[in-house]
């Protein structure tokens, strides 16, 4: 294990800070709305119906597409592109950057995605099915919509950004992976501003619902707001959700020079791999990933105030993550643990970024939002410090820790420090 320098000992041009964020979640289209929902137990899960699969539940966003995009461009592009454009524009507005005078060749766009292209491919197959599968009616928009860089590229087109843009395919760890990529590119001076995080359009592909259902991992409940229930003994799977969250990241030196409002500093991060199973997580590797992020931040587990868990509401996934979290944070008396998916479901590629955002608000209100829908805590998920159903006020929140894990054993963690 390498010895990392203390983050505060790094030169300011190697310290990376969050200066703005824009988000759309099923229960809020700004951090203010989202935070209010998280502190007041407001779920964003609704009844939903999708072609072929039928009735289910999902986390659905209602952000105003036309705020930042013409109807023509929205039609031409993808839902993930619209989500990305909304989040990126809102993040820039939130950052206070003088956008009209920014050299956009020095802006990089790094967008985490779980999957991309399924929505458009399914839709086109449905379209040609009406024409006896005549491929001459297959749309010429298919390729620009389904290339894997599409969501990031649509942001670049919309905002006239000529720096690098690409997506990071990292299953459900992608939101954190986008942030980490942005941080690394800033440190390498590949860009001066990074727009980084993750997006999801996954509720528009029936395949993801059908796939989780076949796997026995799709949540159902007669009350949609109760369907997503990580850590509850009666949880029965994942609620699929759409959404997005993108951050503006800058080097501390640049942020200071323009007297930017700094939301927090990314002091630690880590990614590793289970290499054990396509689907089932490996808590030993998860715990290792968490410790690597703490090591990079040069802090101990007990320094962390809030751990935002990845738990999705599946039987085994929640138990195994709790094992990893208990292993690292089990002896910490002042570390509190929560979960955001209980409110909004699983926003897939956006999950890491959105769930972090909801907790960064704790730097301002010193409150830990709860996990909801825990009517009967699963004894196997009973970790000390779990904040259930009611928010908890602390004296001060200095560090937020964010877990995000995904299929094929991809693990990620980030540590954000209050400035």
């Amino acid at each position: 294990m390498p010895q990392f320098p203390k983050p505060e000992d790094l030169p300011d041009d190697q310290r990376i800070v969050i200066t703005g964020l824009g988000l759309t979640a099923p229960n809020g289209n700004s951090l203010k709305e989202f935070r209010d929902s998280l502190l007041n137990g407001r779920s964003g899960i609704q009844d939903y119906e999708i072609r072929y699969f039928g009735k289910t539940v999902a986390g659905i966003c209602d952000f105003e597409v036309k705020r930042h995009q013409s109807r023509r461009d929205a039609r031409r592009g993808t839902r993930a592109g619209s989500v990305g454009i909304y989040c990126a524009r809102e993040a820039v507005a939130n950052s206070g950057l003088d956008w009209d005078n920014i050299d956009t060749s020095r802006v990089g766009i790094y967008v985490g995605i779980t999957e991309h292209g399924n929505v458009e491919t399914e839709s086109e197959i449905y379209e040609i099915s009406k024409f006896d599968y005549d491929t001459s009616v297959w749309t010429h928009h298919h390729n620009p919509r389904t290339v894997a860089n599409n969501p990031a590229g649509e942001i670049a087109l919309n905002m006239s950004i000529t720096g690098p843009h690409y997506t990071i395919g990292a299953a459900c760890a992608a939101g954190n992976a986008g942030l980490i990529q942005g941080l690394q590119m800033l440190r390498l001076k590949e860009c001066d501003i990074a727009i980084a995080g993750g997006v999801s359009e996954s509720i528009h592909t029936f395949g993801i619902f059908a796939g989780f259902n076949s796997q026995g991992a799709l949540a159902s409940h007669e009350d949609p707001t109760k369907a997503s229930r990580p850590f509850d003994v009666n949880r029965n799977g994942i609620v699929v959700a759409e959404g997005g969250c993108l951050y503006t990241l800058e080097r501390l030196s640049d942020a200071k020079a323009r007297s930017a409002n700094i939301i927090g500093e990314i002091v630690g991060y880590a990614m590793n791999t289970d290499a054990t199973d396509f689907v089932l997580p490996n808590p030993t590797r998860q715990a290792q990933c968490i410790r690597m992020a703490l090591d990079r931040a040069c802090i101990n587990a007990e320094d962390i105030d809030i751990v935002s868990t990845h738990a999705t509401g599946t039987g085994m996934g929640d138990v195994l993550e709790c094992e990893a979290v208990r292993d690292v944070f089990g002896e910490c008396n002042n570390t509190f643990i929560n979960n955001t998916k209980s409110f909004i479901g699983h926003t897939m590629g956006a999950a890491g970024a959105i769930e972090l955002a909801g907790n960064l608000a704790s730097f301002d209100d010193n409150t830990v939002h709860p996990s909801i829908n825990v009517d009967e805590l699963d004894p196997q998920c009973a970790i000390d410090g779990l904040v259930i159903n009611e928010a908890r006020e602390l004296d001060r929140v200095n560090y937020v820790f964010n877990n995000s894990f995904g299929m094929l054993g991809i693990n990620s963690a980030v540590v954000i420090k209050r400035m």
Binding site: S136, V137, H140
Partner: protein, 84 residues
């Protein structure tokens, strides 16, 4: 279809392709490009929608015929005379 019906059909297609445009004052003798923000992908959309909605094929060498409303209607009239 008679020319007036073909014109309506084209207006419907344009309204879907360019929902932000006001098509009420479209000059039939002026090119689409001079009046609307249309690029090559939009012209392909017109060709595609004609194929999907009316089973009318417009070969690539004839794309120039879709320059204005008047030229489009003239070009499509013999092709769509049998379309209900």
């Amino acid at each position: 279809m008679v020319p007036a019906e073909i014109r309506t059909a084209i207006i419907d297609i344009l309204a879907d392709i360019a929902p932000d445009e006001d098509l009420s004052n479209l000059n039939d003798d002026q090119s689409f490009r001079d009046q609307m923000e249309l690029d090559s992908m939009d012209f392909l959309d017109i060709v595609m929608e004609l194929r999907k909605r009316y089973r009318v094929q417009v070969p690539e060498e004839d794309y120039v015929q879709l320059e204005s409303m008047a030229s489009t209607v003239t070009y499509l009239t013999p092709k769509m005379v049998a379309v209900a």
